[in-house]
């Protein structure tokens, strides 16, 4: 079976760990335990009937103003998920920053974006404008998803889309 390394990057507390937890264990918790270093999980993805993929998912500690993402964690990845918190403008503004870092370290590696915590949003209008803005400004991103680790919205789709892009 083919194994691929996938990384999740983004600002702190955007829900990277939660998205993985939802995807791998189908669980969610409201507690916030910040990730230190990296946490690694494994998941089999059934892409099609005969095509199966094993993902080694690297949950990388979130970037803060004091701490940049460690390049060593990013290197060698075959796919990138950039996570922003749709309720926190600053974390969305930083998405291009994360994308740039990944593109600098990895050549021609597919990336998808997750705008997480949409379950907390009441105004869809605002979200739509964010998505359209990001679509305009992000180059080399396969797809942008509005996700929720809490209710599970678009989480499967997020990882599946990336897996397919990796195998393309």
């Amino acid at each position: 079976m083919i194994t691929k390394k996938v990384i999740l990057i983004g600002d702190f507390a955007t829900g990277k760990t939660s998205l993985i937890r939802r995807y791998v264990d189908n669980q969610f918790s409201d507690d916030y335990l910040t990730t230190i270093g990296v946490k690694i999980s494994k998941k089999h993805v059934q892409i099609s009937q005969e095509l199966e993929l094993q993902l080694m998912i690297w949950d990388i500690e979130g970037r803060t103003d004091l701490k940049e993402t460690n390049p060593a964690y990013v290197l060698g990845a075959h796919g990138v998920i950039i996570v922003g918190d749709s309720t926190r403008q600053a974390s969305i503004d930083n998405i291009p920053l994360h994308l740039k870092l990944a593109q600098k370290l990895l050549k021609n590696v597919p990336a998808v974006v997750a705008l997480n915590k949409v379950d907390l949003l009441t105004e869809d209008v605002q979200m739509k404008s964010i998505v359209s803005y990001l679509h305009d400004s992000l180059e080399g991103v396969e797809e942008i998803f509005e996700t929720s680790a809490k209710d599970g919205r678009n989480v499967e789709e997020l990882f599946l889309s990336l897996s397919k892009a990796i195998l393309k």
Binding site: T3, K5, I36, G37, V38, I40, L75, G76
Partner: protein, 599 residues
């Protein structure tokens, strides 16, 4: 003279002539135009002149007069437009923080360092825990057999165990598994293990090792130049890392790595890199594109050596039988000596353990250990101490019978003796961190007062005291020190809502200060929720907010499972004197406190 007059005097004493000027100017301006802005424009240079001069000269007085005014002004502005203020303030605050960080980097690093250090060790240990467990259980059997054998040889040969250990140390380096890992991605290229020692989740191990490598190397590189993580130790195991450009080898071995083994690992990796570097460098997670059989053959040579050794061990095992026989004969001969020797040691052991209990030290107790029985004799003042003694000896008896020849001498204790007993009991209690207990013996009653933190030993001590013959009454005036486990929640002006933030705070408090556990263990402690207002403005309003604040917290805590019989709330329209001094949000708060119930 009121403040206003004082201000006037202060402002205008020296500038009296300017006042006339000002008056004139004002008149003129108002006559000339009704436009407010032009007036302001004209006057302001003059005003600012007056102000700056006067303020310069009478700074302290100015501050004294303005301070209450300003705080009032701020208060009302904040109330009216807290959002606006927040907007204005936030860039300033964040700038201040940034500045602080820039200027005091080292301080911040120092403050964070212990936390980070802990996190690293936790991270490393957690990632490996599973693996360690797995490996541990798998080798346990072989290992304990080895240990036993070594012990026997040591007995027979009269050699020290350590010496033997050193002699056989080459054998202790047993390679259990080998991982070949793609360096950049941390993906597993191949994993080989000894038979019956297959690693669980080798892919996970490979990724984790890479993550740890990156993590530690990143950390090291900030502190020194050319170091690299090349060995990870845990218990009796070592993971030896040998790194090349495109990949690295992780070798899991029991015992520590030695030079010979390291050389061998290096040469295997060298060979692999020479032959397959391109293929491995371009490894994309698809093993079918690699010549895995060939690679594995080389990796297996790292495991092979050990199986040779174990073959040699198998041969030697035949002799084990004779060793065991020898030991048996030796043992039989020793039995006789052993018995008398063991009586002696047991006696010493019991005596030592009794010495550790200061209560027994006060009395003359003799112990005589025989082959079949243990005889205790002596005089003790009362039954509970006697029972205590029997309990302490019991665990040593095993097959022996206890012959109890203790005589109870119900001699009433002298005050001196009681004091001695008490001193011992309280010394034990006060050893515990945070306990501060004093006692007074008054005839046949003891008064205890002070603060304790750990209730466990307190109960023990109480029962010990009550078992001292001659003490009839214990008066306890002890408080539990829970001050740091209370909670204060502060409120904005005219706010009583229990926001999500405040609920989170309460949740955290319940969890971190183990509220439920405390309620369960200390049934003499209750919770009191006290609501306060700042005491400014109408009394009615103050009462309302104080009550609302307390009630909401009270209700929330009950909703969170705190039994209503153990919690109550009160409200006060003004803060406590001590709180006013603190100036913490002017006393708009809810304070939760532990109180002792009286019944």
């Amino acid at each position: 003279m009121n403040d206003y007059e004082k201000l006037k005097q202060l402002l205008f004493e020296e500038e009296r002539h300017k006042i006339d000027e000002l008056e004139l100017l004002l008149k003129k301006s108002i006559e000339e135009s009704t436009d407010a802005t032009t007036i302001v424009e004209k006057i302001s240079p003059l005003l600012s002149d007056i102000f700056s001069k006067t303020i310069e000269q009478n700074k302290a007085e100015f501050i004294a007069i303005f301070a209450p005014l300003i705080s009032d002004m701020l208060q009302s502005t904040i109330q009216d437009s807290s959002d606006k203020i927040a907007k204005v303030m936030s860039p300033i605050i964040s700038l201040a923080i940034k500045d602080q960080v820039k200027n005091e980097k080292d301080d911040i690093v120092d403050a964070l360092y212990p936390v980070i250090g802990n996190m690293i060790s936790k991270f490393v240990s957690q990632s490996f825990k599973e693996m360690i467990n797995e490996i541990n259980t798998k080798v346990q059997s072989t290992f304990s057999y080895e240990t036993l054998k070594r012990k026997m040889i040591a007995k027979i040969k009269g050699v020290s165990e350590t010496e033997l250990l050193l002699q056989s140390s080459t054998k202790l380096n047993k390679v259990e598994s080998v991982f070949l890992i793609h360096k950049e991605s941390g993906l597993l290229v191949s994993e080989r293990s000894l038979e019956n020692h297959e690693s669980i989740e080798p892919e996970m191990v490979a990724s984790m090792l890479s993550a740890i490598r990156s993590f530690v190397n990143d950390w090291i590189s900030k502190n020194s130049d050319s170091l690299e993580l090349n060995e990870i130790e845990f218990g009796n195991y070592t993971i030896y890392l040998e790194v090349a450009g495109c990949c690295y080898l992780a070798v899991v071995l029991s015992g520590t790595s030695n030079r010979a083994l390291q050389n061998k690992i290096t040469s295997v990796l060298e060979f692999l890199v020479k032959k397959y570097s391109d293929a491995i460098a371009n490894f994309e997670g698809d093993k079918s594109k690699l010549d895995l059989d060939e690679i594995n053959k080389h990796l297996d040579t790292l495991l092979e050596n050990e199986s040779e050794v174990s073959a040699a061990q198998k041969e030697k095992q035949n002799y084990t039988f004779f060793w065991i026989l020898g030991v048996l004969v030796f043992a039989a001969l020793s039995v006789y000596f052993y018995i008398s020797y063991s009586n002696q040691t047991l006696q010493e052991k019991i005596e030592r353990s009794l010495h550790e209990n200061p209560h027994f030290n006060l009395y003359d107790i003799s112990i005589d250990v025989g082959y079949k029985s243990v005889v205790i004799a002596g005089k003790l003042p009362y039954e509970s101490l006697h029972q205590n003694l029997l309990q302490s000896i019991k665990p040593f008896l095993t097959r022996r019978i206890l012959e109890d020849k203790i005589v109870l001498a119900y001699a009433p204790l002298t005050v001196e003796e009681i004091n001695k007993e008490l001193a011992i009991a309280f010394a034990m209690l006060n050893i515990d961190d945070g306990n501060r207990i004093r006692y007074k013996l008054n005839g046949n009653s003891v008064t205890i007062h002070g603060i304790i933190k750990s209730k466990k030993n307190y109960d023990k001590v109480l029962s010990k005291i009550s078992s001292i013959e001659g003490i009839r009454q214990i008066i306890s005036d002890v408080e539990y020190d829970f001050s740091q486990n209370g909670l204060k929640i502060y409120y904005g002006v005219s706010k009583s809502k229990l926001t999500q933030e405040k609920m989170n705070l309460l949740d955290l408090w319940i969890k971190s200060s183990k509220v439920r556990k405390t309620l369960e263990l200390y049934n003499d402690l209750n919770l009191l929720v006290m609501g306060f207002s700042d005491g400014r403005g109408a009394l009615q309003k103050n009462i309302y907010y104080a009550q609302e604040r307390a009630k909401k917290v009270y209700k929330y805590l009950i909703k969170k499972g705190i039994p209503s019989s153990r919690i109550s709330f009160i409200a006060s329209p003004t803060p406590l004197a001590e709180m006013v001094n603190e100036k913490s949000y002017e006393g708009r708060l809810v304070q939760i406190k532990w109180i002792k119930n009286d019944n």
